[in-house]
């Protein structure tokens, strides 16, 4: 099976949240409850155990490419559907002590719900803050990349439901190329701050959810240079080793004196 990916394009998204709804319906995810955040049209706020697609609404004091708004202050309203990044080196997968989190044949990162024991280590190990524990069930949940649908040759529910092809689904190298072409097109049209978000140069090693965004990644709550926490394995364990040797020394001295 080919390695699949999402390409989510902020310049095509219209903020309809059809992806959120399709995701919830297909995957039978519980509701998040009614909250009013006053953050533009976003009342979901974050990805979480019961939110696997999340549409961001960015109100920014910046002009949208070449557009003239006719207002005194520059303004743009950007929408983007956020999702689990399905990292090439996934912090959650590395951290999982039960082997519940696995790499599937389509390259995605999948939490096996019957194996997860809810230890919560993946929650603090995800550099993107995606996976979370459902406290009613007691185990961890995140986007499955519609693994069940993909196995049957169907595209993920969110991509299927997207009315503007803001969410594209396909083979990862094709999509990387498409993203490149799209960004060049956008730049030619005057969207000078268009860019691809796909952190390939950090220890995360690229993701299976690529994004085309306008402006800095921080505004989308995307870490500018995310790292998989296992890069700290050596330094953390060597510090522990030094401390342990010091403990042995102190205990030895104490009882030899």
């Amino acid at each position: 099976m080919a390695v699949s990916a999402f390409l989510t394009d902020a310049t095509l998204c219209i903020g309809c949240k059809a992806c959120e709804v399709a995701c919830k319906e297909w995957n039978h995810i519980p509701a998040d409850g009614f909250t009013f955040t006053a953050n533009s049209y976003d009342n979901t706020n974050n990805l979480g155990a019961s939110t696997w697609r999340h549409v961001l609404f960015l109100e920014q004091p910046t002009p949208l490419g070449p557009q003239v708004t006719g207002t005194e202050d520059p303004f743009r309203w950007i929408f983007l559907s956020d999702v689990c990044k399905h990292c090439a080196n996934a912090g959650c997968l590395e951290a999982c002590p039960t082997g519940a989190i696995i790499r599937t044949e389509v390259g995605s990162v999948y939490v096996q719900p019957d194996v997860c024991n809810g230890c919560g280590y993946c929650v603090v190990s995800c550099p993107f803050g995606v996976v979370d524990k459902n406290h009613e069930v007691g185990t961890a949940f995140k986007c499955t990349f519609c693994y069940d649908r993909q196995r049957e040759g169907l595209m993920p529910a969110c991509a299927k439901a997207c009315p503007t092809q803001s969410i594209r689904f396909g083979e990862i190298n094709d999509l990387r190329q498409q993203a490149q072409i799209r960004v060049e097109q956008l730049k030619q049209r005057g969207y000078s701050d268009a860019r691809i978000y796909d952190p390939q140069e950090t220890s995360v090693g690229g993701t299976h959810a690529l994004f085309v965004i306008l402006g800095e990644p921080e505004a989308y709550n995307f870490p500018p240079s995310p790292e998989v926490p296992t890069i700290h394995m050596k330094s953390a364990w060597s510090a522990a080793l030094i401390s342990a040797l010091a403990v042995l020394l102190v205990v030895g001295l104490a009882f030899a004196l």
């Binding site: 979480g48 006719g70 919560g120 803050g129 921080e218 953390a236 510090a239 104490a254 009882f255």
Partner: protein, 340 residues
């Protein structure tokens, strides 16, 4: 301008008419309640929302960090005192190790929700997951501590023979070795996460946790009546290190360490350090001959070390909510621009 921003139907109609006629609006629109709203810009993150997820662990987990640490180091003390011939102390230390080993799994199970879930930890062994190493270490340590206590008690009961004594030694060596891992892996576990205050202190947390475990193990022995020079020595060394660590955290004055210095988590950290560090140290130095003062010093250290476990988890929770802490680590060149 204020008079024009009254929200009335007439005003809205006027705006609509003007927009239809000229194609744009010359006047101010309506100023909504609670405006201006937070803007999603790179300097503030997405409306100031957290990037990371907060730790989900229940109150049993920091307690387990403490209990596991004391048990692990007690096994080390048991081995060393066995070598140096202090068998009375060694027996008590072994029993403390076993008690800790017996309390630990129920604490972890309480966090997981039901007992069978703990078994899932033993499906695989992953060197890259500190949690996996810890689960297996706890199992190995508990078995070794139980075996060592059983062998020792059988020997005392008159069933001793060469094989039993050899078995006891092997069990004690294994318990001491796995005990060191048990007391330290929890700190490595915190250091190997995405939470800024933990990962940026990955070299410091092992020292904090092992110092707390060593001092508390010795303090437990003191509370059980072993007011000997050895426990006093360990008490003075560990409370000195606690003091130094507290000074380091305050003196470095890093943005990422704010949860350790500010707010409820910060004061919890400081309280733990103050009790286990200077308080315990001064009691030991100035009233070294008073048994009462030593009991209080021991109690102070145990309390301080326990508080410190809760404080580090609380600091992680605060740190996970602060997008700036994360962004500044990842874009150090912008640190000067975004620190407020």
């Amino acid at each position: 301008m204020a008079k024009e921003t009254q929200i009335t139907e007439d005003r809205l109609d006027a705006l609509r008419e003007e927009a239809a006629r000229t194609g744009k609006l010359q006047h101010e629109g309506i100023v909504p309640v609670a405006s201006p709203f937070p803007k999603a810009i790179s300097a503030t993150s997405y409306n100031g929302n957290p990037v990371l997820k907060a730790p989900t662990w229940t109150w049993q987990v920091p307690l387990y960090f403490f209990v596991g640490g004391v048990a692990g180091i007690s096994a080390v003390i048991a081995l060393v005192t066995h070598v140096s011939g202090n068998v009375g102390l060694m027996r008590v230390a072994l029993w403390i190790a076993l008690a800790g080993a017996l309390i630990s799994p129920p604490l972890l199970i309480a966090d997981l929700g039901r007992p069978a879930r703990f078994l899932n930890m033993l499906r695989v062994f992953k060197l890259r997951s500190a949690m996996s190493i810890g689960a297996w270490t706890l199992v190995g340590f508990s078995s070794a501590a139980a075996l060592a206590v059983a062998c020792h008690e059988l020997s005392l009961g008159g069933y001793g023979n060469g094989a039993l004594i050899l078995l006891e030694w092997l069990a004690e060596i294994f318990a001491a070795f796995s005990g060191l891992i048990l007391a330290s892996y929890t700190s490595v576990l915190l250091g190997m996460t995405a939470i800024p205050v933990w990962s940026e202190n990955r070299r410091l947390v092992p020292a904090v946790f092992l110092t707390g475990a060593l001092g508390s193990a010795a303090a437990m022995l003191e509370l059980l009546g072993f007011l000997i020079p050895a426990t006093q020595f360990i008490g003075i060394v560990t409370s000195t290190i606690e003091t130094i660590i507290a000074i380091i955290i305050e003196w470095r004055d890093r943005y990422v360490d704010r949860p350790l210095r500010e707010g409820a988590a910060g004061w919890l950290t400081r309280a733990g350090s103050a009790v286990a560090g200077p308080t315990s140290l001064l009691l030991r130095i100035f009233w070294s001959h008073s048994p009462g003062a030593r009991y209080i010093a021991a109690l102070c250290f145990v309390a301080g070390a326990l508080i410190a476990r809760y404080a580090w988890i609380a600091a992680g929770r605060v740190s996970s909510r602060d997008p700036q802490a994360l962004f500044q680590i990842q874009r150090p060149e912008r640190r000067a621009a975004t620190v407020t």
